[in-house]
Symmetry: C2
Subunit: 424 residues, 2 copies
Amino acid sequence: MADKKNKKRALDDEDEDPQHVPFKKRLKPDQSILKTLQTLTKSVQSDSSSSNSKTLTLSDLSLSSSCREVSDLDLSDVQSSIERLAIRAAFSILSNQGFAYDVPLRTSANQLYVPELDRIVLKDKTSSRPFASLSTVRKTTITARILQLVHQLCLKSIHVTKRDLFYTDVKLFQDQAQSDAVLDDVACMIGCTRSNLNVVAAEKGVVVGRLVFSDNGDMIDCTKMGMGGKAIPPNIDRVGDMTSDALFILLVEKDAAYMRLAEDRFYNRFPCIIVTAKGQPDVATRLFLRKMKMELKLPVLALVDSDPYGLKILSVYGCGSKNMSYDSANLTTPDIKWLGVRPSDLDKYKIPEQCRLPMSEQDIKTGKDLLEEDFVKKNPGWVEELSLMVKTKQKAEIQALSTFGFQYLSEVYLPLKLQEQDWL
Amino acid sequence: MADKKNKKRALDDEDEDPQHVPFKKRLKPDQSILKTLQTLTKSVQSDSSSSNSKTLTLSDLSLSSSCREVSDLDLSDVQSSIERLAIRAAFSILSNQGFAYDVPLRTSANQLYVPELDRIVLKDKTSSRPFASLSTVRKTTITARILQLVHQLCLKSIHVTKRDLFYTDVKLFQDQAQSDAVLDDVACMIGCTRSNLNVVAAEKGVVVGRLVFSDNGDMIDCTKMGMGGKAIPPNIDRVGDMTSDALFILLVEKDAAYMRLAEDRFYNRFPCIIVTAKGQPDVATRLFLRKMKMELKLPVLALVDSDPYGLKILSVYGCGSKNMSYDSANLTTPDIKWLGVRPSDLDKYKIPEQCRLPMSEQDIKTGKDLLEEDFVKKNPGWVEELSLMVKTKQKAEIQALSTFGFQYLSEVYLPLKLQEQDWL
C-alpha cells in the first residue's frame, strides 16, 4: 500500500518534475538574457563590417589546385551562355568534327574542403561528353535538351520545378534523377547557380518572427503570420527588402519544435527569427537563411536533434552538400552556432534514460565518418560533442525535452541556453 | 538530308505545337468564362442556403445499423470527459473489479459508406480493453497515459504534435504508430475530433489567392503572399474570419502545379483560392478546405494526377479516410468536382505518348479496387473515367501538360476546362 501511495505521488508530481526544477531556478530575468544576446549580435555585426576573413573569396587564396565556383548570373547572361554553347556545337558539327560538351566533374574526388572559407568547393577537372560515342550519346542528348528547355525559361522569365522539366520529355529522361543530374551539370557548365536557371525545388521551409521582407512584390510581416508562419518562397530572386529588429536567427531542424516556438510566440520574448526546413535542408531554405544572415548580419543559432543527422543537417546549412559543391558560395551560411540539443545536454539536463534512444550500427558509422570530416575537425567543441555521442551510443530528438512538460523547450531549455551563451 | 530538315523543323515548332493550337483558339474572352463561373458559384450558394440534402446528418437517416460520430467539443468538455473516465476507472478499482476501457472499433468491418451523406462513418461496435489481461495490459496502460497527457494539454491550452506526445514516454509507446493509434481511440472514446485533443499534425499545406482569414489573431491576406503562399496553420480552431471574393476553390494535388498557378497569379485572372497539401492530404489541409467550403459556400474544383492515387486523394478530401472515419463529418468537404487531369483528357488534349506512363500491376489493382468503392460508384462519370484508365493502362501527372509549354496549364488547359464547365 505504501508503494502504491508513492506511485501515486510520482504521477502527481510529474508536472513539476523535481529533476528539472534546478534549471528553472537558474533562469535570470529576461532583461539580463537579452543583454547577453545584444552583445552577441553586436559582435557579429562588427565582425562583418570590418574587412576580415568573412569577405574572403576563392580568388584571394593561393590554393595548390585551382577551383571552380559559379556566380550569381542574370537571366540574360544565362541565355547568352546557352546561345554560345549552341553556336559552338553548330560550328563544330559544320567543320565535320561532331560535337562534345565540356562538363565539370562533380564527383567527390574533384571536391575540396577549404578551411579558410569553411565550405566545400569544386576543383576544376572537366570531362568531355561527345555526341559520337556510344557511352555518352544519351547523356549528351539529355544535356542538349536541358539547355534548350532552360533557354525557353529564360525567354519567358518564369520558374518551373525539376519535376516540370522532367515531364517535358519523359521518354528521353527516363527517370527524374537523370534530368536532375544533368541540370546540375548545366549550371556548372554555364557557371551559374541552379536557381539562376529558373528551376526551383518544391518549397518546404517556413519562417516566423521578427522579419519583414518582400515576396514577389508583396510585403510580408512574419510577426503577423499566426502560428502557421510564412512559406519560404521557392525563388529567392523574388525575395528582397529584408528588415528586422531580431537579435538572432533560430534555425530549427524539426517542424514540431518550430510549432511549439511559434505558438508560444517565443520571438516576442526573445526577439528572433525562427526558420525551419522541416528536416533535410532544401535549396530554397538554404538560400533564404543565407540571405537573412548576409543582409541582417545576425548570429545564427541551430537547434537540431542530438544524433549524427542533426550535425549533418547543421553542416549542410553551414558548409554545403557535396552534390551542390559548385554553388557552395551562394548556398552556405557561415558561422552557424550549435546551440543544442548537444550530446552533453543529455546528462546536463538530466534527460531520462527512457527518452534517449540507442544508436544503430549505421548511426554510429555515420557519427564516426563525420569525425573525419574537415568541417567538424576544425571546431574542437564539435569534435568533443560528437565523440561523446559515439562513445555513449545514445541519441535524442529535440522532442525528448517534452518529457519535462510540453513547454519546457520554450520556457526553460532555450532561455537557459541563451543566458549561459551555451553554443559552440 | 530531307529527314534531318524535318527533324529540325519539329524542334523549332515546339513552342507552338500545332497539336494544341486548336485548344488555344477555342478559348473565349475571359469575361465570358467568368460568367460561367458566376453561374456555378450562385448555384452552389443557393443549394447550401436552401435546406436540402447538404444539411443531412447521421441522425436524420434511419440506418439499419447505428453509427457513431464525434462532434466538435470545447477544450473544457474534453477535460471533463477525461476526468469522468478517470473517476470511473478509480471506482471500478476500489470496488475490486479492476478496470477496463470501452474502445470503439475502428476496423473496416465496423465502417460504413453512407451514400446519403457521401462519406464513410463508423458503426457503433466497441471492444473492452481490460487492464487485468495479458493481451491488453500494454494497450490499456498506453490509453491511460495518453488520456493523462491530453488532460495536461487541456489545462495548459496548448497544441502539440503527435511526435511530441510520443516523446513524452518513448519506453512505454515503443514506436509512434502505437501512440498515434491510441490517440485516435481516445478521440473516439471521448466522442470528439482529434484536433479537439489539441494534438495536431505537422503542417504541410499552403494557400494563396482571394482569401482573407485570421490565424491566431493575425489577419492574413492571401493575395499578398507572393509566390510562396501562406502555410496552412496546424490548429484549425485558431483560424477564423474568412472572407473572399473568389468564384471557386481550386484544389491542387501537387506542389509544382500550385507554384505555376501562384507565379502566374492565376487567381487574378479567374478569382479563386488555390490550395494544396503537396501530395497526400493532411488533417490540417482537410480541415481548412472544409472550413472554406462551409463558410464561403464556394464550389471546389480538383486538379489531380490522372492515376488511381489522384482519384484516391480526391476521395480522401471528399469522403474521408478509413483511418479517421469516426471524424468524417468534420474532415470531409462535400461535392468536390473532378476537373482534371482525367483519363479522357489524355486523348482529348492529345497528350503525346511519351508523356504518358504505363500503369504498374499495383496501379491497375488500386484502380480496380477503387471501382468497387461506393463513393466512386455513385458518380457514373467517375466510373466511366476510371474504367477508361484501367482499360488503357495509362497514367499521367499534371506536369505532363508541360510538354506543350510550361504555362499551358495556366493559360490554356484550365481556362478551357472552366469555359466548357468540364468537371464531373
